[in-house]
């Protein structure tokens, strides 16, 4: 209408504009604020802010820096996995094995180093290869069979769950790994994967830094590189992407391997923070990663989404999960609270983008 674009300060915008800058004559008529709101990641940003403000009011301890650091730590371990899971989802695929794959990686590193009495870096390196191989296998099976990735990764999810348990029991005689904290290279690896540093008297976990760096990197790849275009293309329409020369199989397999890489990274964080790993962990985490990506505006059907959205999605998970504790609500209702808050956030997200796109 008669409104002008410069009426809205640009500072509230997340970094990147949409993939297409071409105006079609209709959108140019609409104010910048509405056009921004139409973006899924702006909706989730507002949802995250709403949840944050809510807990600032409901839970006084949240106002302290150390509480925020704790919330961000929880968000970061979800968020690092939610990023590649989101990219994979934009690429039109799905990974149910992501949660247990984290534990597989941690178990591999720990047992390889311990059983052969090697420097822990040897275990870390082997775990990376194993994680990438799992990602490759998932991707390869999906592109070769053409079966839905839901089925393929449901299979690998069950396989990994069983293998985690059976191999650990076979190798260590127990169902948890041995403590590796007194082995060579442990302290060094802990500095890389599980360090923390102090900012203004608040202990910040290093995973928060990695999370934000990875998110910036993923955003750049998605919006500024050819590979990023490929991801959108294979998720949007595989056949037309192939017709215009996009290497569909390469893109899909590499996306699964990217999930493998992140699983390795988080697995190493778990191992070096807690020294031992229980083989039964990780089940159910895949749904949390997927939820964070979906809340962050990634469609379950592929072809749309962003890397910054899942950052807010993961933040929302961390914020709600810890906020409930900071607010000292009855713990019996914990899961129900979590669900209600998340549904609420998604509704805000949806409402915002609907209102914004309605003409």
């Amino acid at each position: 209408m008669g409104m002008t674009q410069h009426a809205e300060p640009a500072v509230t915008t997340p970094p990147a504009p949409g993939p297409s800058k071409v105006k079609d004559g209709r959108t140019s008529e609409r104010p910048l604020a509405l056009r921004l709101l139409a973006r899924p990641d702006v909706g989730v940003f507002l949802g995250a802010v709403a949840v944050w403000v809510f807990f600032l009011i409901a839970a006084p301890p949240v106002r302290e820096g150390s509480a925020m650091a704790n919330i961000l730590y929880q968000s970061s371990t979800i968020g690092i996995m939610a990023l590649p899971v989101a990219l994979l989802m934009i690429g039109g695929e799905f990974d149910l094995s992501a949660g247990v794959a984290v534990i597989t990686s941690a178990l591999t590193a720990s047992m390889f180093a311990f059983q052969l009495t090697l420097n822990v870096w040897a275990g870390i390196f082997v775990a990376l290869l194993v994680s990438l191989a799992i990602g490759f296998l998932n991707g390869w099976l999906v592109v070769k069979t053409g079966l839905p990735s839901f089925l393929i990764t449901l299979g690998t999810f069950l396989i990994l769950q069983g293998v985690n348990l059976a191999v650990t029991k076979l190798v260590t005689g127990n169902v948890a790994t041995d403590d590796i904290s007194n082995m060579d290279g442990f302290d060094q690896a802990k500095k890389v994967f599980a360090n923390s540093f102090e900012v203004a008297g608040v202990q910040i976990k290093i995973t928060i830094v990695y999370w934000l760096v990875f998110a910036a990197l993923a955003t750049w790849v998605l919006l500024r590189t050819k590979y990023g275009n490929w991801i959108f293309a294979v998720g949007g329409n595989k056949d037309s992407a192939r017709a215009v020369g996009v290497p569909v199989n390469f893109t899909k397999i590499s996306l699964f391997m990217l999930v493998g890489f992140a699983a390795w990274f988080v697995g190493m964080h778990n191992l070096f923070s807690f020294n031992t790993v229980q083989s039964g962990e990780g089940v159910g985490q895949e749904l949390i990663y997927i939820s964070a990506a979906v809340i962050g505006g990634c469609l379950l059907t592929g072809g749309a989404g962003s890397a910054i959205g899942p950052v807010f999605g993961a933040f929302m998970f961390g914020m709600v999960q810890q906020g409930i504790v900071y607010a000292n609500w009855n713990p019996d209702w914990f899961k129900a609270f979590l669900g209600v808050m998340l549904l609420g956030a998604v509704m805000i997200n949806l409402w915002v983008s609907r209102t914004a796109t309605r003409r």
Binding site: L118, N119, H269, N270, S273, F274
Partner: protein, 339 residues
Amino acid sequence: MDRSSLSRSRRFAPAVALAAAAALTLAGCSSSSGGKKSEESADGASAGKATTPRMTIALVTHQSPGDTFWDIVRKGAQAAAAKDNVKLVYSADPSAANQANLVQNAIDQKVDGIAITLAKPDALKDVVAKAKKAGIPVVGLNSGVSEWQKLGLMEFFGQDETVAGEALGKRLNEEGAKSAVCVIQEQGNIGLTQRCDGVKKTFTGKLQTLNVNGTDMPSVKSTITAKLSQDKSIDYVVALGAPFALTATQSVTDAGSKAKVATFDLNKDLTGAISKGTIQFAVDQQPYLQGYLAIDSLWLYKNNGNYMGGGEQPVLTGPAFVDKSNVETVAQYAAKGTR
């Protein structure tokens, strides 16, 4: 299109890299401390072998996969089976209906005895009756201390979770605790809830409960940290499993809290933490003993007609306290994964 050659080279790359890595690592980066080499070779308890005729016993539990506790129960059962010339058939499922199916499976196999856990007694009532009808003796272990007689089981080996909780609550009073938080790693698990309820009964201070996501350790850590900073008066964290107690000690540090940590159940890392003083004490229900006695009792019944507890009283395996005063004795067995 060169898609196939692309994917083929990618398929072999990891294998080649793995082989290279193995050669590289084995060649020159051994760890000078820790690792398998430093671990003493440890044999399980062994007491010779009975010459009685071979018999088959089924042990059917509600274990969920990958739980350190149940692994110890199973090791106890295996030790007794090896000694008694028993073929042990182990199966488990956390779902009560599936556990009942597994018991039916054992009946169909015509085993000589069945040992079961009664996490959800009602679901197992029918199948226990069928076993009795088929003339198979059934004993209970671990959970169901108030139900085993109603179901007509011969004997029971375990601890009363509520009684164990009460014992821990009394100990907290002795330690001078004023405010404690009971950390539940699996929302809705009856045994865990009973433990916290038991603590609440005897503890004279304030007791709160806290639910954490037990399958995600970073989440467990932040949630306990959050609780400790939300309520700074908390001076004791009560964990319901050894791995969670170890994580709780990190939360205490993160939150800058002065709270002490106590727990139910043991593992080998936990005995180390008790001797270092980072964890004050553990309530041990001796899972190895539960598995061992369940199998041994069925052997005794078959070969000598004995009833432990006279068929009237449960045989209690806990609560036994492990603290700095006795941890050294227990630690050597925990290192083998049998305590």
